[in-house]
Symmetry: C2
Subunit: 545 residues, 2 copies
């Protein structure tokens, strides 16, 4: 039995566009001999539609598009993910996260997702009522168990036993020959390997093949990486789709003689690919064709520019370098060297006269007081103002360039360097920023080595270095991971051998800067715990650990 | 039987502070003859603690504080809301939204919340596992049914039948003499009346008295209004606590001879009180003592200043008026008149030279192009920069002054007038802004009548008026309510008699400006659907209605 797997890139809410994508993939798979075609979770609606589902016409239009797709299907069944209504008198949430089995012009079966993730970036219990039962579908003498994403995530791969039911066990206990899964599983570092282990484990335990179709493409903060999988009944991974690109392929999951296809993780490469896809989709799906950003001569803006140039083409990336009286000439030179290597345009505009004018304006109110962090922030905000002016005048989307370590401790200026529509590397700790930059330079110097090797500085006062204020980045990142990603208390972190003063300083900075992150641009999530929709801390709070 | 109701104001995560509040209220109620004392939902943890509960020491410290409270209780039981662990091997979410019955130094009973709201601003299924059963607690010959907030919200008062269980029915079917409810029910316009009708209805239907203890105080975007209630078994509301203030009171819910206490809604007064409490709590609980804001001479900044002065005292409010070449002298005069009436300090600083300097700086890049919205935004952003400088230099929290109508259609400048730590009136449609301003002026002119009566203008170009760009505010607000609060499609709104071009323009503006709202300051929620945590729209989407 040959299955077509359509690893496609839907846009949230774009029913006509997504229907077209699905149909094109269906036909391509038919031509390649597919006997069933599978698409990702909510392939017709895009994942996650979030509160759009509450709009009075969202589900009706989704169902119209589904009817259209049903009309276009012949004897080869097509599995489509969509949003359905819960029955109006059935208690619970108003909608279902659903899959439809379309065949010969009809919706033959409707399957509801049973396990609804409501943690981290997921909010499915806000919208959906879980399915009440799982039954295999008989087709051509085979019994096919259709599941949706979380339905196959077993306890071993979750933080705790979240669910009271086990759809895979329900299906296999009713004799199932094949498990098919429609997924929209977002990327984070290490996730492709976890999925492989899980899918192979399910196939091996149940003794049936598993076909796993994942979405690709970015929607807001989530980047879906594809990496669709096929496991044979003996637990071997017999096919793995490429990551970060649209692919349709026809596979036979019952081919048990196939070897395990190898998979090697390459963190900097995966991070780079995820961010390139994230930028391309965010910018294009928002209707922009070009971006601008500030180039400081530092590594964060250099990496962001390199990613943007790869995502959109260098002709669609516009840099500004905006030296202050405290900037070194080297920083400006590094920015121009970068721009040249990437092939992007870069202009130099000094902030000196604007800075002077604003200081003069504020003088009557500030009379008699020393300069302090106020004037440092002024410079960052003047740059933000100038970049937004360029964005407004030429219709670029402004990219902001801060990394995760800075955002964690608030080493960034709100309405200054935090200005922008997308925070490209805001989920990369500084140590990963270096790692990805070095990977980009693996064959030739694209990011100037000087940018990578010089001590990082915000250049907002004479001879300033990041490490005047911050701990060394490797230390900072190690503590941040324990505090932010693993929720450990300062005492627990200190007991692992870290310096108490450093740990408490970091903890305090992370907590105090929640308000800044509340107003941060959306960032592309690439680790297991990003700032953003997956981390929801109160601003007003007094919890002391 | 006399119950003490402690309508208190907890701070999220402040276990020592909240324990102290609870104990003080307990003792005060004891002195007044209480035989049981009830506190609000999660009174010990503060509501909502959000992702703080995932911190490894959050629940352990909460349980320590609970033990301390238990130690301090004598024979009069104390009901305390807290966060408990779910049993590690019990499937589901890791925590319980719980109430403890403390008596004679012990935790005598633990009650789990059964109905967990996961809609609008609520995310309880993200954290909590629902209680499995509801049983009355026997005490002094009475059977007391203890419930937590949503447990008593009946279908009639929800958007649809959300739940498969009915804790009130479960309790009354086991013979219950009294229903007690610990709540943290946030304010929105009309909510106090809904709660009254619901509580009276439950008492009447079940034939038992209901004691409803609600929290007061603001935490982030939510303002809890108190308005605790007692209903006698015949369905009369025999006590209603004041709104928006801490109050402890001892009541006898079995006093059936009492009359229904009257309650009259006064929308502008309630909105004003909610916002005053919201500002006071946000500012003080964040550790600030003073605020600053820009005064434009318009009504939004005037109302915000009046609310801030009432919340914090006029000596803790600092205004800046920042005229541009396009500002009228009248605007500056109105700002000073307002400052005088409120007793707040106001300084005048022109943005002219800063504006000129930035235009000159950008000239090489903008050469040959006309001025457009770019230069309008520049002015707003220069003001934002100056206000943030004042905030930084003098440690004020900056208040942003935009209203809901502007925020809806994006008639505001990101990183400009949107700068600030709290968006005070961002959930007030412009028509409500006028209503509250007139209410403030009911006895004397506090907000200059000229500010209220002149046509609104952003004054960013010569002779600009809001209505050059926007529909009349009454029309705009009516359409926005249908589109944003009721999720109607443009076609449905047009079919109610609104002009098609206006409706489609508004719909498009609302959708296109999602990205700006993503970076907006937290706002105080006072309507049933605010922008903010209760409305979660994707930015990247192409749903066309």
């Amino acid at each position: 039995m040959k299955l077509g797997i359509a690893q496609i890139n839907p846009v949230v809410g774009d029913f006509p566009g997504n229907a077209k994508l699905i149909l094109a993939a269906y036909r391509e798979c038919l031509d390649a001999g597919a006997e069933i075609v599978v698409t990702p979770e909510l392939s017709l609606a895009g994942y996650p539609p979030r509160d759009l589902v509450f709009k009075s016409q969202f589900v009706p239009k989704c169902l119209q598009a589904l009817d259209y797709l049903a009309d276009e299907t012949k004897e080869v069944p097509l599995l489509v993910g969509y949003v359905d209504h819960n029955h109006p008198t059935h208690p619970g949430k108003p909608f279902r996260n659903a899959a439809a089995w379309l065949e010969n012009g009809e919706i033959k079966h409707r399957i509801w997702k049973t396990l609804l993730p409501t943690y981290d970036v997921f909010d499915e219990r806000r919208y959906f009522e879980p399915g009440e039962s799982s039954k295999p579908i008989e087709w051509k003498g085979k019994r096919i168990g259709v599941t949706i994403c979380e339905d196959i995530w077993t306890e071993d791969h979750l933080q705790r036993p979240f669910y009271h039911r086990d759809p895979v066990q329900e299906l296999t206990s009713q004799h199932t020959d094949l498990i098919v899964n429609l997924s929209a599983s977002p990327f984070s570092l290490g996730k492709p390997a976890i999925r492989r282990a899980m899918i192979a484990g399910i196939a091996h335990k149940a003794g049936v093949p598993v076909v796993y179709c994942n979405a690709i493409g970015a929607n807001d903060q989530l980047v879906f990486d594809g990496h669709s999988l096929v496991a044979s009944a003996n637990g071997r991974i017999t096919a793995q789709f490429p990551g970060f690109s649209t692919t349709n392929m026809v596979v036979n999951p019952f081919n048990e003689w196939l070897e395990d296809v190898p998979f090697e993780e390459n963190p900097p490469e995966e991070l780079y690919q995820a961010l390139v896809l994230g930028v391309r989709d965010y910018v294009r799906k928002c209707g922009f064709s070009s971006v601008c950003l500030g180039l400081s001569g530092g590594i964060d803006s250099a990496l962001t520019a390199a990613i943007a140039a790869a995502a959109l083409g260098p002709e669609n990336v516009r840099g500004l370098t905006m030296p202050s009286p405290y900037s070194s000439r080297g920083s400006v030179d590094d920015s121009f060297a970068l721009a040249k290597a990437l092939g992007i345009r870069c202009d130099e505009l000094s902030i000196a006269s604007g800075f002077e004018a604003v200081k003069q304006t504020m003088a009557p109110v500030f009379a008699g007081r020393d300069e302090d962090v106020t004037e440092e922030n002024m410079q960052a905000r003047l740059r933000g103002l100038m970049l937004m002016a360029l964005s407004n005048k030429e219709n670029h989307l402004l990219l902001t360039t801060g990394n995760k370590s800075e955002l964690a401790v608030g080493y960034c200026t709100i309405y200054g360097d935090m200005c922008g529509g997308l925070a490209v590397i805001s989920d990369l700790p500084k140590s990963r920023v270096y790692e990805v930059a070095r990977w980009i330079n693996r064959n030739e110097e694209i990011i100037p080595w000087n940018t990578i090797e010089k001590p990082p500085s915000a250049e907002l006062r004479p001879d300033q270095k990041d490490q005047d204020t911050l701990p060394e980045y490797d230390l900072l990142d190690a503590i941040l991971e324990l505090y932010v990603e693993h929720h450990l208390s300062p005492d627990e972190i200190i007991s692992r051998g870290y310096d108490e003063a450093v740990v408490r300083w970091i903890q305090r900075r992370v907590d105090l800067n929640e308000w800044k992150r509340h107003q941060a641009a959306p960032g592309l999530r690439v680790t297991s715990k990003a700032f953003g929709i997956g981390r929801r801390m109160p601003i007003v709070q007094r919890f002391i650990e």
